[in-house]
């Protein structure tokens, strides 16, 4: 049983806080909770509304899991009594969801945006496919538990900046260290497609400004093309001498053992990216895609999955429909494109479920929206064999939620399990809340 202060009576809360203060050290207050130990006892959660992430929902369902894997689902006509459960949670009226997956985030790579010392997501230089985000991933970030608090249990830790930013890794958001956290390491390389827009310059030398930008675009595209050519040629040789760390880290892209994530928002960029990747027969994942709706057939014909950039966003242009970003998920859904929703930044990622909620207000069903932050994300990241939905044999990475997880008005997460481990939902912000409630003697 985890220490869950939320459900304890106020009187008991005060007592607990009192005890904590008795220890005399405030530092114990501002601590992240300890990572949970591996699941040692089987658990059955009963009487829930179960959302499987694959688009189905079941009333009065029960879910059982043991040794980190889902072993029982009541709606599959399995006999509940065949298993003996060490622990049974009757969660009548609550919802079970797969753990949410946040793609393209720098949780653990940044602690305070404005402080240089606290940022480790953007390496200097332009071409860094060899940089690995995972080794900079800080499991002790104070931000992570606040994100977990809203049901995000898995994340793609992603570097950014430059033309080629480096490798992302998938982690579970409850760990002692990065080795512990890894779910899938160095699973993909991230490329930021060069800007192909030309902007107005200052009045004085507008023509020159335009020309310079065009030269810049041409140069960057040529650099990128040359980099692909070099990487491709290098990969043809199994034993290159000398070994080139930069090109070596691109090898997986060409033999399809590693994903290529291309960050691009504008139609022209996306078309150019498709063109280049087709030349090398690379399948890539589009990240961003603000104008994905303008190239929807191209994406579909080329089977390109999309991680949509934050859709809580203003339209790109004043003439566009005012709800253009909000309606984008529905457009991809209707076109049959595999897509996931995402959230900019790190601390902001706790709002991922609400980004999905907005997509429901603008056309998706709740289950479709849930898929876009669970199983779709898992498919895109290539981890769907083991996680991303509630299925027998998959990881018991799931959430028990008081209300609708997509709606902040009712979303209160009571329990979270990562591979069967009952992880703490406590965090420094909640601790400060309790500390000051106690100071003012309020409920």
């Amino acid at each position: 049983m985890i220490f869950k202060i939320n459900s304890i009576s106020p009187a008991l809360q005060k007592l607990i806080i009192g005890l904590l203060f008795c220890h005399g050290s405030l530092t114990t207050m501002a601590q992240n909770p300890a990572p949970a130990p591996a699941q040692s006892k089987s658990i059955l959660i009963k009487n829930v509304q179960l959302h499987d992430g694959n688009g189905k929902t079941y009333n009065n369902a029960s879910i059982g899991f043991n040794e980190g894997k889902i072993t029982f689902l009541s709606y599959l006509n399995m006999d509940e009594k065949n298993n003996s459960w060490d622990s049974i949670i009757d969660a009548k009226g609550q919802h079970v969801y797969p753990g949410l997956i946040a793609l393209n985030t720098n949780i653990g790579l940044s602690e305070i945006e404005a402080l240089r010392a606290m940022n480790d997501y953007s390496e200097t230089g332009s071409i860094n496919p060899n940089a690995r985000a995972i080794i900079a991933y800080n499991t002790d970030s104070k931000v992570t538990p606040t994100v977990r608090f809203n049901g995000i249990l898995t994340a793609q830790i992603t570097p950014s900046g430059g033309l080629v930013s480096g490798n992302s890794s998938i982690v579970s958001l409850d760990a002692w260290n990065w080795e512990d956290a890894v779910y899938k390491s160095d699973e993909g390389v991230h490329i930021n497609w060069p800007s192909m827009n030309v902007y107005y310059g200052q009045k004085s030398n507008e023509e020159d400004f335009e020309k310079k930008q065009k030269e810049r675009i041409e140069k960057e595209l040529k650099n990128l093309e040359a980099f692909f050519e070099d990487s491709y040629n290098y990969h043809l040789n199994n034993k290159p001498n000398p070994k080139n760390l930069i090109l070596e880290s691109m090898r997986g892209i060409f033999d399809n053992t590693k994903k290529l994530y291309i960050h691009a928002n504008f139609a022209k960029q996306i078309m150019a990216a498709v063109n280049l990747c087709n030349k090398y027969k690379i399948n890539f994942v589009l990240v961003g895609g603000s104008e994905a709706n303008m190239v929807i057939n191209l994406l579909k014909d080329n089977n390109i999955p999309v991680i949509l950039g934050q859709t809580h966003q203003l339209p790109l242009r004043e003439d566009e429909p005012i709800d253009a970003p909000y309606t984008l998920p529905k457009k991809l859904q209707d076109a049959g494109i595999l897509y996931a929703l995402s959230c900019n930044g790190f601390w902001q990622v706790r709002n991922l479920p609400f980004i999905a909620g907005t997509a429901v207000a603008y056309g998706l069903t709740q289950e479709q929206a849930l898929s876009s932050i669970t199983i779709n994300a898992a498919r895109i990241a290539g981890i769907d064999k083991t996680t991303g939905s509630i299925e027998i044999g998959k990881d018991a990475t799931l959430i028990l939620c008081q209300g609708d997880i997509l709606d902040m008005k009712s979303s209160v997460i009571n329990r979270a399990f990562i591979m069967g481990k009952s992880v703490s939902l406590d965090n420094v912000q909640h601790q400060l809340y309790l500390k000051y409630k106690s100071k003012y003697n309020i409920d």
Binding site: E318, G357, S411, L432
Partner: protein
Amino acid sequence: MTYISAIFSYMKKLLIIIAFLFCGISSIIAQQNFPVNGVKNEKKIIYAFTNANIFIDYKTRIKEATLIVCEDKILDVGNGITIPNNAVVYDMQGKYIYPSFIDIYSSYGIKAMEKSKSSEWPQYKSSESGAVGWNEALKTDYNAYQNFSINQKEAEQFRNAGFGVVLSLRKEGISRGSSTALALIDENPNKALIKSKAAACFSFNKGNSTQVYPSSLMGAIALIRQTYYDAQWYALAKNKEKNITLESWNELKNLSQIFESDDKLNTLRIGRIGDEFGVNYIIKTSGNEYQRMEEIKKTKARYILPLNFPEAYDLSDPYDAANVSLASLKHWELAPYNPYFFEKSGIDFALTTDGLKEKKDIFKQLNKAILTGLTEQQVLKALTYTPAEFLALNQLIGSLRKNYLANFIISSGNIFEKNNIIYENWVLGERYIINDIYEPSIQGKYSFILNDQSFKLTILGNLDNKAFELRKDTTKCTAKGNFKRNRLTLSFEVKNKTINEFYRVSAEYNNKDFIGKVQMPDGNWQNINIKYLEANKDTASKNNHLKNENNEIKVIYPFCAYGTENLPIEEEVILKNASVWTNEKEGILQQTDVWIKNGKIFKVGKNLLSTSAKIIDASNKHITSGIIDEHSHIAVSHRVNESGLSNSSEVRIADVIDCDDINIYRQLAGGVTTSHILHGSANAIGGQSQLIKLRWGKSPEQMKFEGADPFIKFALGENVKQTNWGEKYTIRYPQTRMGVEQIYTDAFTRALEYENQLKNTKENPVRKDLQLDAMLEIIRGKRFITCHSYQQSEINMLMHVADSFHFKVNTFTHILEGYKVADKLKKHGSGASTFADWWAYKYEVIEAIPYNGAILNKMNVTTAFNSDDPEMARRLNQEAAKAIKYGNVSEEEALKFVTLNPAKLLHIDSRTGSIKEGKDADIVLWDNHPLSIYAKVIQTYVDGICYYDSERNKRLQDEIQKERNRLIQKMMNQKDANENTQKPLLKNKKLQHCNDHELINHQNDNHDF
């Protein structure tokens, strides 16, 4: 003597000889009292131009008239006047004579200021030397007449376009000193100078000034305002320091005052400054004033209009075409109408060539304007009489009368007709020939025969630019030609089977034909007789987009997407059977009607009946009070920060409301009805804020929340001490929280001293200090603070400062550590306007918690959630709902965080913030529980006017597409007609130099957290 110096000595002599040569030429029109090198060559000839159509002024044409001039003056003009015996007489039969044009906005002969290298470090003080004013953007002591030099090339371009006199100014700085009126003659600056100080000039553009202040448009306006007061004070004060800037300012006061504007809203702002200081500005406009003609009319200003109508965009790439906004497309179509709109509104204006790539384009542009309905008389007035009048030179130039300057144009016919030819432009009695008046018109079709082969020649084009088309039978031959002084030279090639043969003709004009010689390919000479056949057929110019389209001329308000020709009007409406979130003790009323009438909530109750009201079925829907955003930076022109000073309390958001910001409409769609538009947090004491209602389509003045208490933005912490501004920002005081307190204490202390001076000093006038005026208003409870704040220590500090000056801090905004001092806030009486869940973006928010709102509310501090972000402002209802998630605030209370509570913080809760009879009908109809993420706005009313309606929104979306397509087709047509085009570049209003990543992720730069 060394070899090198010998060379120098030789070169020196050479230069002197060259100099003398030039002097020799120029002495023809030498300065009156200058010594002459050589023999005096003075001419005093009387010229009489007879039988002409003379426009003695813009509205009076005299036929068969005579103009008599001598030296630089007109001796006489009219019918039946006596021609002096000794006059040289030119018969002008059929020709037209006009007063030469006047361009009242040019930089002719003025050297632009060289850009000084800006320092790596921010520069807070003026870098000017001498006893000048504090701000280097005020170039008040600059005088164009002391700095001009004759520029023959430029003068010729002006003269060829019909101009005789220009006003020259240096386009540099906010105050630009004096401009000068110059005649466009090629020699003798002493004669060219017509009026030394002709007009004082101003702009909002600080130009090459490297001083930080003003870093914003509102700062520029504040600087102008304060300088007016300073100059008034300077004129009266005794015992003052010398200040050349203020002295010059006062000296220029009685001249015409010309103010350059680069947008219609700036034009209105200039009008307002004029009203404030009793100055009737002549405003040089940007050319988009037709988009706000009603308000322009009310300025009562006089105008100078440009003719640089935008070129069509190159839209051949459909993806690039998406980057051109509807506003730009429409402006392309309507810009030529701008002068016509002014004429129609009865506003006096002059025209200028300023902004035209070439001066000669003026006629092409005028033709466009005339096609829109602008009258020729008005055009002539705007180029002659009006500019002369604006410069108080209408007794000297702009008309052709006795004793006026001899500045006139001789043309073949009506100067505004397409095929008209300007022959001569006389300036100060000096004759400048543009086209040979005696040159025959040789345009037409001809034929000739060479070696039994028949050729057809067509001569096209105008006087100075002819085109020659030659055909042998039906085959086209390449031909080049030239016609000067009655001689035609023509060379052409004839393609034979193997080689190309070249023919060269030289022939004399002879009674319509040409007779001469041709040298054949074999070198032999032959006679040639090129016979005139007939005149060219008039090929009407293709698809001139201004013809017959008056039905398409629709100005929309605001002039951008989602603007409409007719604004929604106030209606009497009953919304029936809704769940009504009253925010009053009645709570949430089910199955209840809300009746709005005369802009107010008339009745709230069940089964309301009316025959006059429009009925809207709102069953299963929710009605709330309109959302009030306590902290917003939308709808601001230029920047929201004036970062040039640590105290910029003199700047006013009220001066820079941008009614065209699309975010106003987008936020209406999120249920926002009132926004508190704040200065940014770049300094301890920011600027005065402005409360607006989101009356989409209305003018800036109409958006202002009438009668609302004035507020001012303060800020604490990292932004103020420039922590995250970069390594170079370590100069401006304060750099620590310690210094922030001292800024406040100092400002309030000085304000009290100032108050004392105002009360007690009678004789020596006290300088009106707009900064201290604002500080004093705060102390005296006439202006209220909303203070950007994060950490508890500084929040505590400001309350102490306020206590010591006996006032209250009205609101702390952001206040992410408010929960740590909730008890102190309550005691002091401050409210809190915070974020729902923001943190970790900088060090001072490291202990921010999403439970902040819940704790503050629980502690009875008036608590609001604000946006500070144009995107999030569209979802403030959802932010409010986070107070339920984090801290168990009740639903009703949570909704008040974005409605009633901010209304209280802004002192407008007697008019807004709840659904109560008699309050303003600022209400929102939702399709779902208003705190749910699934809720969308169906309608938003402000003052009972439905400014957003989801159905209408869909229609507008379709109309935008239709209108875009119509304009794109039209533009493509224009492009095919070989008009000049410009590239469609992505124009981001707020961020000019961002990359795509920034465009996507940081397009919301208008926030200041």
